[in-house]
Amino acid sequence: GSEGGPQTTGIPAGAVTVFAASSLTESFTQIGKDFEAANPGTHVTFNFAGSSALAQQINQGAPADVFASASPATMKQVTDAGNGDGDAVTFVRNQLVIAVPKGNPDRVAGLTDLAKSGVKVALCAEQVPCGAAAKKALDAGGVALTPVTLEQDVRAALSKVKLGEVDAALVYRTDVRSAAADVDGVEFPESAQAINDYPVIVLKEAPNMAAARAFVTYVLSDKGRSVLTEAGFQAP
Amino acid sequence: MTPVLDARLVVERGGFRLDVGLRIGAGEVVALLGPNGAGKTTAVRALAGLVALTDGHIVVGGRRFDDPRAATFVPPDQRPIGVVFQDYLLFPHLTALDNVAFGPRCHGASRPAAHETAARWLARAGMADLARRKPRQLSGGQAQRVALARALAVDPALLLLDEPLAALDARTRLDTRAQLHRHLTDHAGATLIVTHDPLDALVLADRLVIIEDGHVVQEGDAATITARPRTDYVARLVGLNLYRGRGIGHTVTLADGFVITVADTMDGDAFVAFSPAAVALHLDLPSGSPRNTWPATVAGIQRHGDNLRVQLSGPIGAAADVTPAAAAQLRLQPGQLVWAAVKATETRAYPA
């Protein structure tokens, strides 16, 4: 219900607080500006952090209107606690690629090349979405490999490639795109089996329900999508 | 008149046990003397409340400060005391002036008033020039004078001075002693002064209490103690030869059988004391009046003021004072055999 919010009319106004996964930092900051321009009188405030930390904050009563998560699992923590208003909607998807140092010195062409001895690979830990996706992809390709590290998040895995500590890492396409100066991305077919969904939801205790809904609608709109696909995300 | 201080101090620490009774009247000054490790500092600390009694009691001005049986213990800051510590314990971060002003401040004086009091006390201690110095910038004697001023500045009912003059030079010591004497004469409370200097005790104290190994061994005014020492330590302090034995008529027989003839009549356990100056030394058995003569060996010779002090071993140990001229004439040297003689009239005998 929208009662209790400062706005009960359908026209969004006032402040919207969006809790968003930190991988959305750049695209959502842009979308927020666009949204404010499209809806004068609104003001979007972001809280970017790891999805699971955001889920904890929301479940502990954080004053948030919208939650955009980098994985369905963390979204589930919020909806299971009954803090979502309605169902979560997947607004983008992200696909794995193999990140390799610029110029691909080890000539990695596909997943199987990662299993070669002497190739140091970083994966995400299974607990985080990119790790779960990587496992799915490797299973799908029937590739067994022993990574040297199971990173906490995509960024950490990527920076290991950037700094030359590993020869390859399974990361999202968006990440490779933002680090294009230092790394190349190698697409591989098995990634289709391991696509990660980004869900978004309006929260039940949203202080500004109307604006929250308007924001989610804006993200799902073509304008919002275009910003996201520009950053390398796929439309669902 | 009830005494200001009425205490029985029993403290046990490690293997050491202190057990002394102390009563000090209003305006009275008691000197606490005793060899190193006798428990003087421990007694002072117990009175100050820095160490708890294991038994006994401390009553000051009718107030019970410490009584293990009654589970009473008044902490040091609530006792009206002033303490000069053997190692001063001046606050290293405060100037001499602030050190002395500390007590008055704690007793409620305003800052300027406390500083004024402190400046007055420092001036009396001859430390006015150095009032702004930190303790680390003071010499040992200067620090001790500040410590004395600090303790006196709170005008305490019970003043506890643990060797307050030990670091002073001879001249300052004389002045400070005289001044302390004047102060103590006016002081309405009780004073306990620990000292190793018999002169301090004689000048400053109305009464002497001598402890050894945690126990009182002798107590009284200076004249009595000087005349009738009852232990080695006291005899040494007042410079007498002292022996203990059984008296029968005009003789006192020591434990090892040596017999001393004395002027007084004695019956039962008795002490015999005589001055080293009363001991005459001869190369041959002297004939004539001295009733006590014995062969002795020179164990050591030291200068002693203008004279020489000769340590004798033999049937009884003794010290003898001789003039350098006599020593030269006798050609005294360690290991030499001599005859020692003491006239009975030079001895003093008294019941043990």
Binding site: Q57, A179 | D77, F91, H93, D175
Partner: protein
């Protein structure tokens, strides 16, 4: 003392030499050579601590530095960091020094356990610490719920929340450092103060505290630096709101999402500021007593 108190006349002025030269010459350096057995590990230790900084400096994008410096959020975040770290340090000193005193000077049952419990925020991964803070001080938390209902105060996701998170993480440093200093201090000065009529509070304020000032200063430096670098508990408990709760480490975290270089630049700014502040403050502070 009057002129005639003593048995001789005063003529020491005749015997005294002239007054001392008014200006003392500069003190000679007579320091003994430091032993190699100490210098070598010390140099290694220093290198170990400072080399990574050199790495950052090498990697920093110097050419783009000026424009990054003036990027909008940076100064705000820096100001917020300095402000919250300083307030957190004050809170830690006010609560932590008494706590250290109690641990060092009061003999109570369970002291050993309390002393070990003090280290909890050190060992707790900061993110979990943030969650724990949310559980207690959050809007639905044990204390936070009551505060919210009674006074309408919320701490989470506010600047006050940042201070709380930083203080929680940094206080143990202060407490342990000060307790160490207190145990090393000579208690006999406190006894002397007591005999002069100083109660424990006066003794604490006028004797103990000045004596352990170097220890308190060291603890406060640790505390401030740790608060300044705090990230996990802050982002979890206070969130990451620019201008309100986004401190420099949080900004660095977000910059890391974008590119390594921005993160390095932001870190270097934070370092430069804190090192400058410490270098100017600390020598003065630590040499006070």
């Amino acid at each position: 003392m009057s002129k005639h108190d003593n048995p001789s006349t005063h003529h020491s002025d005749v015997l005294k030499p002239g007054p001392p030269a008014p200006v003392a010459p500069p003190r000679r350096r007579v320091g003994r050579r430091a032993p190699v057995a100490l210098l070598i590990p010390a140099a290694l230790g220093l290198a170990f601590l400072v080399l990574p900084l050199a790495g950052l400096l090498v990697r920093a994008p110097w050419s783009t530095l000026p424009q990054r410096l003036v990027a909008p959020g940076v100064l705000t975040a820096l100001r917020l960091s300095l402000l919250t770290a300083t307030i957190a340090t004050v809170v830690c000193v006010v609560l932590g020094v008494p706590l250290a005193w109690v641990l060092a000077r009061v003999d109570f049952r369970g002291r050993r356990i309390v002393r070990a419990l003090i280290t909890v925020p050190l060992v707790l991964p900061p993110v979990v610490g943030g969650v724990a803070l949310l559980l207690v001080f959050g809007r639905k938390g044990i204390v936070g719920g009551w505060l919210n209902e009674t006074f309408g105060i919320t701490l989470a996701f506010t600047t006050a929340g940042v201070v709380i998170a930083e203080a929680f993480v940094a206080m143990p440093f202060l407490v342990i450092a000060v307790e160490g200093a207190l145990r090393g201090a000579d208690e006999r000065y406190e006894e002397a103060a007591a005999t002069l009529g100083a109660g424990r509070w006066t003794t604490f304020r006028r004797v103990t505290l000045p004596l352990v000032a170097p220890g308190v200063a060291a603890g406060a430096v640790l505390c401030w630096a740790r608060a300044l670098g705090e990230f996990g508990a802050t982002i979890t408990f206070a969130g990451n709101f620019p201008g309100r709760t986004q401190t420099m480490p949080l900004a660095v975290y977000l910059a890391l999402e974008k590119d390594l270089e921005s993160a390095i630049v932001l870190s270097l700014i934070l370092l430069a500021v804190s090192v400058t502040i410490l270098a100017t403050l600390r020598d003065r502070w630590i040499n006070t007593p």
